[in-house]
């Protein structure tokens, strides 16, 4: 979090800097099956975020010693392109943040993937952040879920993710970069909408018990929209195939 003393006024008359209401999502677009080689893929634009997710597998887990004879393992790599953020060129290669996000993303997918359907296998999830503007881990998970589904991987549910945060005492949904930098709290959350189980929870800042309750409710409400966009992306692939236009 940046120094709060020079924080810009993030909310004016109940509107945010980009004109959104407090509980309003940024525009979200997803296209499924965009990469030919991958078994499943998705391209997502969420506000100014541009994210590509691809899934390879299930395939024989390598090296052999990582194989689990009764179920599949998931490998996940989240990475930000060196040109993805406003400002300086960043070093390529995983930093500590990327390694942690890869881990919690993998765990989110482990909770809904029917791993026992694929003994001794691995499923690789690659998330590439091509352009970042806050909320990239949520965008990556939302895209990767579509990629997993388009790869035909057996899952109990199509998960989505979005963050909520706090500016002063106001709760806001789907933080962009500047809000993320100056907010009093940021809580990325991934949800399995079938039963609203939380499959990723991270938070830092300050949050009362009541604010947590309200914020989670905002996430679940917005989730209906996000889930709908995910499903429509998948439906379009199959409609396209029927018309002979599919990849």
């Amino acid at each position: 979090m940046a120094d709060k003393s020079n924080r810009p006024q993030l909310i004016v008359d109940g509107k945010r800097l980009d004109g959104r209401d407090l509980n309003q999502l940024r525009p979200l677009k997803i296209e499924a099956s965009v990469l030919k080689n991958a078994d499943g893929s998705a391209y997502l634009e969420w506000g100014n975020n541009k994210v590509l997710a691809a899934v390879y597998g299930p395939k024989e887990a390598m090296p052999k010693h990582v194989q689990d004879p009764v179920k599949a393992i998931i490998k996940c790599k989240y990475s930000m392109a060196p040109f993805s953020s406003m400002g300086e060129h960043s070093r390529s290669g995983p930093n500590r943040r990327a390694i942690e996000i890869s881990k919690v993303t993998r765990e989110a997918f482990e909770s809904v993937t029917m791993l026992h359907d694929y003994p001794a296998s691995e499923i690789d999830i690659f998330i590439e952040i091509l352009q970042s503007d806050g909320g990239t881990r949520a965008a990556g998970i939302t895209a990767a879920a579509v990629a997993m589904a388009s790869a035909g991987i057996h899952m109990k549910d199509l998960i989505y993710a979005v963050s909520f945060g706090k500016v002063g005492e106001d709760l806001i949904l789907d933080l962009n970069m500047i809000e993320d930098n100056y907010s009093d709290c940021d809580m990325p959350t991934a949800v399995s909408p079938r039963n609203n189980d939380l499959v990723l929870v991270q938070m830092d800042g300050s949050l009362t018990r009541e604010q947590l309750h309200k914020g989670l409710q905002m996430v679940l409400d917005a989730g209906k929209t996000i889930s709908q966009v995910q499903k429509e992306a998948l439906q379009r692939v199959y409609e396209g195939r029927e018309n002979g236009n599919g990849v």
Binding site: I99, V104, E107, S111, V201, S206
Partner: protein
Amino acid sequence: MEGFDIVKVSYVKELLLKNVREDGRKLMEFRQIKLATNIIDHAEGSAQIDLGATRVLAAVKLQVEEPMEDTPTQGNLMVSSELLPLAHADFEPGPPSPLSIELSRVVDRGIRAAETIDLSGLFIEEGKAWTAFIDLYVLNYNGNLFDASMMAAMAALASAKIPKYENGEGVYTERNEPLKINRLAASTTFAKVDKTILLDPNMHEENAASARVTIANDGTVVRAMQKGLGGSFSPKEIENLVDVSLSKYDELKKVIEQAAGK
């Protein structure tokens, strides 16, 4: 996990059906905590915790560095952790594992979010500020590294003294001024084993767990959270665990303060 541990997993699960834990604890009870400070004389602050059989040594070193470009009037905080090979048979030498990185980043966020140390207070003069390096050395692993590390880090910070500053560098032989502590954060980690949720999982309970969540608070508000493992929690469960977490604050704060001689 070796064969013995797999047997222990089913043992732990079977016991929990009757709400009984392997070591006889209540579901929302910590193991015995032993916390001592000033373990390493050469460090500016240090603490060692025994949380049951989990042992973590935390040490704070303060070093004069250039402030970061975007925060020219603040010092820095850098948390690292080492899952030492001597701490468990499954810990291997090499670059930090994802678990090790997660551990240090969760502790880092807890300290930052609770504003435990005032980073502006670490500023010395233009171009000079203290960087606080917190190293978490896991010496023996028996579950719940998160709470053990957080408590050790808090106690190490609370017992740290700033070296004298002279001619652009620290004089490590003269350390008198205590590092100012704004607010202590307490960390509580819960594991979900089948349908049962319990506090402070030991290693066997962690092996049996489908999900884990760490909640750090300052007695009033939640400061940091992190879910781990391939399972999930319902929103209601998280909210209830926040209540439990807040209720544990005073007990944990007292342990840290006593250890740091406050």
